[in-house]
Symmetry: C2
Subunit: 131 residues, 2 copies
DNA sequence: CTTGACCTTCCAGTAACTGGAGGCCTTACT
DNA sequence: AGTAAGGCCTCCAGTTACTGGAAGGTCAAG
């Protein structure tokens, strides 16, 4: 399978697939003309990557997950630990963003948004201690 | 005022302040020994930056906000537009993260997390169409 | 034999810093 | 006078996960 086909099937840009090869996540074979030749197992790995990345796992997390995936003797606890840590990070990010959202919503509401220069948003950025 | 003092007062790392000078956000004076010498106005700008960045505005947004801040004839609508766009992005990011959070929570719940190799998290990453 | 769609590599850029090396300046203490 | 600590300087490189583009080889159709 050539890269274009893999790209379509895995839903990843060709650039990304080449990049994943660069950093050693997949190692496709090569045809005599130099073209990458992907096996089904490469395809699977890439699809796995796509899904893991869509869930926000870092590349390094993905690398570890792939290794666990390959390891028939893995303990599911190892996978769970990675997922739980990631989940915790997602949750703390949500909390942070929600705080920002609240503040911004307030500011936008308070600002007249007309052609006068008076602006509570700027005033806040100027003065608010914020932490 | 030297960079150390400014760093403390503005709550920004020295490295960041130097970086902000590099990209033209502040232009402190220089003492004869080459040390940066920050005026109150520089200090204010940096504090403004710190607060804007804490609200998640990009550097370019900050640059625009600073320009509007400096412009006595600005229209508050311009500021409001920037803030509203940013708010929209924050909100969409929250939605994305919440979707991820849901999926992950489910997966973590389903996974036994013991020393057996059977793991629904990996199974999902392997198979789930996900979009 | 040329056109277009593939594929290749390599270089550079993104956002917003952060770390570190190597080295000067200042101040205080012995 | 010497020295040690701490602050300051510049410059280079690395981070994350790609993405864009240039220059060029390959392949199938007409």
């Amino acid at each position: 399978m050539n890269i274009g086909e893999v790209s379509k099937r895995a839903g990843l840009p060709k650039k990304t697939i080449r990049y994943y090869e660069d950093i050693g996540l997949v190692t496709p074979l090569r045809d005599t003309n130099g073209y990458r030749s992907f096996r089904d197992s490469d395809m699977h790995k890439l699809a796995f990557m796509g899904r893991s990345r869509a869930l926000g796992f870092t590349i390094e997390d993905c690398r570890n997950l792939l290794a666990l995936w390959d390891d028939q003797d893995r303990a599911s606890a190892d996978v769970r630990t990675i997922a739980k840590e990631h989940l915790a990070q997602i949750e703390s990010k949500i909390v942070d963003l929600q705080a920002i959202q609240e503040t911004l919503t307030l500011l936008v509401k308070e600002c007249a948004g007309d052609d006068r220069p008076d602006c509570p948003i700027l005033k806040t950025l100027e003065q608010f201690p914020m932490k």
